[in-house]
Amino acid sequence: MPAAPLPEFSSSVKLKYVKLGYQYLVNNFLTFLLVPFMAAVAVELVRLGPAEIIALWRSLHLDVVEILCMAFLIVFVSTVYFMSRPRPVYLVDYACFKPPNTCRVPFATFMEHTRLINSDPKSVRFQTRILERSGLGEETCLPPANHYIPPNPTMEASRAEAQLVIFSAIDDLIKKTGLKPKDIDILVVNCSLFSPTPSLSAMIVNKYRLRSNIRSFNLSGMGCSAGLLSIDLARDLLQVHPNSNALVISTEIMTPNFYSGSQRAMLLSNCLFRMGAAAILLSNRPREAQRAKYRLVHVVRIHKGADDRAYRCIYEEEDAEGYSGISLSKDLMAIAGEALKSNITTIGPLVLPVSEQLLFFFTLVGRKLINPKWKPYIPDFKLAFEHFCIHAGGRAVIDELQKNLQLSPEHVEASRMTLHRFGNTSSSSLWYELNYIESKGRMRRGDRVWQIGFGSGFKCNSAVWKCIRTIKTPIDGPWADCINRYPVHIPEVVKL
């Protein structure tokens, strides 16, 4: 029989204060220990008096040699300590591609094209249902080649799209940061589905006349989580090369990937994937610390490819009629949940305050030793982070993560609004979401951001950034002309 409401309420309020008290106590445990200790020492010193202290010092009989050895030891130990610390990696600034209005794809146009190109009524109904519930808005964009009836996916059109999105993002970044192309030491490009020869990184080196001793890398085939992979690679390179700048480009080229068949599992990507790109400037130069926006704190990579189900869950293949497309399996959400759990388990000890870790540890021990029926404790990540950027893979992904991490609607607002305004832009979506948070003026100095990306493999990668200077609005970016309209209410189903 349910308990009476009033006692429940008062007991939950008491529980809240108990929890708060517990958190303060455990997280500042050392301070609590240290304070009485220092007080005791101070009292003792005061009691002894200056003359007695000097007498104590003289009685140690230290001569010059011993003092010099001790000083040398201290200097040696501190040098080893400072040299072995990892170089800090700063995110100086980043720029996202803003698609031109002529590339806009309203729902009506999308459905019309689908019906004109592939008139299978079942596929049409399926895509209509997907679009209605997708959480996308009327301003998402596809590249020009996809506006043709039928679409025109030539290699030239793919290169044109790559040039349009990548060069716009880089030009914006150069304008924002004053970066000189000759100053770029490391270049990492990730684009999963389009991999021409010469590579996209070679295309950038050619266009901007980068140095001949540049360290360039082109990552292809690594899915929607490749953005954080590139950041990880750039970070590792910046540990090895001092005083360097790294340019990271995350994008997905839509032109070659329009699926013209009627397999439902493959039609999903047509409905959700849209055009986008981001250019990020990372640096380990000490003077960049003054103007950089963020510092990279952690990157955690989880690869579930060893499990067959996870490996086949996002799979590119040809259907029975020979049309190639990306097939998404029905297990996708379950597999994403498992990958997320692994990621949380790894990142938890790195970011959570001690109070949450202890609770988690005790609940785990209790479940193992005392009673397996205890509910597993889900640590409260809201204590560890102020902002969350969840890959805008689709409405289901955001809903699932919101439930699993117990996040409020405000925390997932950036992800939902990015999905609405720009669609699923694959690896660059995390940067559009970060830009949303900055455009709303919510990013303050000291805030921590958690970026979570999912992708084929199945991979779940996350990055933790710490904001090192408050970002003042208005800022220039893809949200500049529409941020005042957001947040919008996104209905469950948009009737088409």
Partner: protein, 402 residues
């Protein structure tokens, strides 16, 4: 012409959408007159000589801009409950065809047959499903010499030649503004010409005694400025700005505080005598209909509702402002004759392009007027020395930059 070979090839079909999304849910039923035209279709072709800003991508961009103002054009036809047609403004876009012609514009104009011309305006009749059929087809054909032909086909139920032409004119305006906005307005100079009562009366006597001082002066300056700017003689456009306080059926009081200006475009043949031009202008101003004024006000209101920024109202073409009814000289700070202003100037900030001509009252009563011009430096210099204007002995003041 090669025997049996077609000179026009349509190589791509796409859909052009508006730059801003349409607010969902707007529908409007077609009227009985519209339904009457159900059997007919409209085909317009506009030919343009090659120009520096004329290219396919630029045209598509300005088309998207213009379609934001015509939600009915990007909508689709559906059958209503009573069996009649309803336009559902669902933001689907218009069909756009890209084509190429293998001849130059001159060859085409000299030799194309009527059948061939129809190839420049692609058309597909309504199929089984009207909800995925675009009532408008726009074709952009590029000739060998980079000249362009814009073909517009639509069902006569949707539009008549006037509004179809208005759509293309709006498209052209949007394209021009997009290009001219980046053209540098080099060193604007201004000058003030004070015409005495006798001067204006003699001007009127030369042109047409019935003309108003405003239309006479506007016509005189327009023709001289066009000549100084090197514009070839022929039909020209002038943007006229008039006050509408007293032109409405329910007139606004003279004391109405706020913008009550109407911008309209007047045409006249600059190759003709100044008297003719003055006549045209006078007729234009007198003939301004209240409907036009309300339409412009609604357009402005819609723009504001959409949160769009202020428009470049003064410019880029030559703009002429009729302010001579303003009782500026009645602003007397002291009693008696000495209190009236000795001179009144008026400038408009942010005006760009070919220039601005403002006709103001002058200190002297009667037909005296002050004309202030802001023009590109060279043209302003030429006007200050122009004989046709200096004949009437105006006092030239405030010449220089700014």
């Amino acid at each position: 012409m090669t025997a049996g070979g077609r000179r026009v090839t349509v190589f791509a079909k796409s859909t052009a959408v508006s730059a801003t999304p349409v607010r969902p849910g707007k529908t409007y039923p077609l009227s009985s007159l519209d339904h009457l035209m159900g059997r007919h279709t409209l085909h317009l072709v506009f030919y343009y000589r090659p120009g520096p800003t004329l290219d396919r991508d630029g045209l598509k961009e300005s088309l998207s801009e213009v379609l934001s103002h015509y939600p009915a054009v990007t909508g689709r036809l559906n059958r209503g409950e009573d069996g009649g047609w309803i336009v559902k403004c669902n933001d689907a876009g218009v069909r756009l065809l890209d084509a190429r012609a293998s001849v130059t514009l001159e060859e085409w104009l000299g030799s194309a047959s009527a059948e061939e011309e129809m190839e420049l305006a692609y058309w597909e009749p309504m199929g089984d499903d009207p909800s995925i059929w675009s009532p408008y087809y726009i074709q952009i054909t590029e000739f060998e010499d980079k000249a362009f032909a814009i073909g517009l086909s639509c069902t006569h139920m949707h539009a008549d030649p006037t509004c179809a032409t208005l759509l293309v004119r709006a498209w052209a305006d949007s394209h021009r503004r997009a290009c001219i906005a980046y053209a540098p307005f080099l060193h604007p100079s201004s000058a003030t010409f004070r015409f005495s009562d006798l001067a204006v009366k003699s001007l009127l006597a030369d042109l047409q005694p019935e003309a108003s001082p405003f239309s006479a002066l506007a016509a005189l300056f327009w023709s001289r400025i066009a000549r100084a700017a090197g514009v070839p003689p022929g039909p020209g456009d002038l943007t006229l700005v008039v006050d509408i306080r007293k032109r409405m059926h329910a007139p606004l009081p003279h004391g109405f505080y706020g913008n009550a200006l109407h911008f309209s475009r007047a045409r006249a043949d600059l190759a003709a005598r100044v008297a003719r031009v003055a006549d045209e202008l006078g007729r234009h101003v007198a003939g301004l209909q209240e409907e036009e004024i309300w339409a412009a006000a609604e357009w402005a209101h819609d723009r504001r509702q959409r949160g769009e920024e202020a428009f470049q109202m003064y410019g880029p073409e030559l703009t002429c402002f009729a302010l001579d009814h303003v009782m500026a000289y009645g602003a007397a700070f002291e009693e008696g004759e000495g209190g009236r202003p000795a001179h009144v100037s008026c400038r408009v900030g942010g005006a760009e392009g070919e220039g601005l001509v403002v006709v103001l009252p002058a200190a002297e009563e009667g037909a005296a007027r002050t004309v202030m011009v802001t023009l590109p430096e060279e043209v302003a210099k030429a006007i200050c020395r122009d004989d046709a204007i200096l004949r009437y002995g105006p006092t030239v003041m405030f010449v220089g930059r700014g």
